[in-house]
């Protein structure tokens, strides 16, 4: 699959410290995480990372976790709302394995840097590979720069000590002339506009990986993990019934539980809408995944609140 790579001359800073941040140690850490998730992570090299999907036995998505192998430990981040669920899930399946999982949210923060030039400013390199990480020093503070492209643009997560956050954000704002510190709405706009699924929105137990464009995180050759049999069967027998699509929408009012209908048939749901109510993401029955169709958007009282059309663009391989 080709992974579209967008570029951005504007440099953004977004505080993603709301994510669950964990340090995992122990000889069996990667082996256990490999047995519990869809991507192959047992051979993660030092200073490399990967995202992988925790699925339940029905093949539904519990969460997508991102792992980096750095400094004799694994750094893991999860969606914050799911942190407890992820940790309980790992704990349930830990028997005699040598693994310790420690929450580090009180000690570490995660600043996301979006844009092409951050690696030049911070480590004097034009770019680093996706899912590579490098240690760096910012004003005497040790930090870790990890490339994850969370909005589809080239982007990095900077892991920093929590008590240095404001100082480091100020420093980053000064070294980069085109920087903009963005809020939640802008971050959501960037990722929706690029068609990136987000934890707690598209990424939830309502869907399996195929339905929300997480195909690239399913390793077909790695062997057993929880949910593998269901996930591979869905693909082999072409049983996936719906797909995530980027939509151009006209919406009067963004409401929760907006359904997508076509000729009075319920064909999908809206999962995300940007703050302009013009671009959204939705999961749509494959029979109706066609450009040129105008769908109706209805609220939970079946009132018409807007229209939508598929923007047939290939979605990038990222999670926000």
């Amino acid at each position: 699959m080709v992974n579209k790579q967008s570029t951005s001359s504007t440099q953004y800073i977004f505080d993603r410290s709301y994510l669950g941040i964990y340090e995992i140690t122990g000889n069996d850490s990667l082996d256990l995480l490999n047995r519990l998730s869809s991507n192959k992570v047992d051979d993660l090299n030092i200073n490399r990372g990967a995202s992988t999907i925790l699925t339940n036995s029905k093949g539904r998505v519990i969460d997508v976790i991102t792992l980096f192998n750095h400094d004799s430990k694994i750094i893991m981040y999860t969606s914050k709302n799911n942190s407890r669920e992820v940790i309980d899930w790992i704990d349930t399946y830990t028997f005699i394995e040598d693994i310790t999982v420690v929450n580090t949210n009180s000690e570490l923060d995660l600043i996301t840097l979006i844009g092409d030039n951050w690696s030049i400013y911070l480590i004097q390199k034009p770019i680093i590979d996706k899912f590579a990480c490098e240690s760096l020093d910012i004003n005497g503070t040790s930090c870790l720069l990890m490339r994850t492209d969370p909005t589809g643009f080239i982007g990095y997560d900077l892991l920093i000590p929590a008590n240095n956050k404001n100082e480091i954000i100020n420093f980053l704002s000064l070294i980069n002339p085109d920087v903009e510190i963005i809020n939640e709405y802008k971050y959501d706009y960037l990722r929706i506009n690029e068609g990136i699924p987000r934890l707690d929105k598209e990424i939830s137990e309502n869907f399996n990986p195929w339905e929300i464009n997480l195909n690239y995180l399913v390793n077909m050759d790695k062997g057993c993990y929880i949910g593998q049999e269901v996930i591979l069967r869905l693909n082999t027998y072409e049983k996936v019934q719906k797909f995530l699509k980027r939509l151009s929408i006209e919406l009067k009012d963004n409401q929760n539980n907006t359904n997508i209908t076509f000729e009075d048939n319920s064909i999908g749901i809206i999962t995300s809408v940007d703050n302009t109510n013009k671009i959204g993401l939705g999961v749509i029955n494959k029979k109706y995944c066609k450009t040129g169709l105008t769908y109706q958007l209805v609220n939970e009282n079946s009132e018409l609140i807007g229209t939508a059309e598929i923007l047939e663009t290939e979605l990038p391989n990222s999670i926000a």
Partner: protein, 111 residues
């Protein structure tokens, strides 16, 4: 009621001894456990292991010392360990009364 033990058949015990290369009936320790993973969530795990831990449940059966860690024992109580040989045999086979579902390959289960 599920018996609070793990049983090994004579056929399985023989293959454990064959596997270790010991013909005598004494001194073979088999660790039986459960690991997270597999299609259904849990998989069986067997290893030759003389390293006894204080928290282990220890069962002596047919000359085999079966060691089970405490957490795995919850999922394995009542299990019969057999051996299915021949060209189409499956090797060691677990008959686990706690397993509610078993995946297609038979090595993974859920409770």
């Amino acid at each position: 009621m599920t018996p609070l033990t793990i049983t090994i058949t004579e056929n399985a015990a023989k293959h454990v001894r064959d596997f270790t290369g010991r013909e005598s009936e004494d001194g073979v320790s088999l660790r039986v456990g459960v690991k997270g993973g597999g299609c259904s969530g849990l998989t069986y795990d067997l290893s030759i292991d003389a390293d006894f831990k204080e928290s282990d449940k220890v069962i002596e059966e047919r000359g085999i010392t079966i060691l089970i860690d405490k957490k795995s024992y919850i999922f394995l109580a009542g299990t019969i360990l057999d051996y299915s040989g021949g060209l189409n045999g499956k090797g060691f086979v677990f008959s686990n009364p706690n397993a509610k579902t078993t995946c297609g390959c038979g090595t993974s289960f859920s409770v």
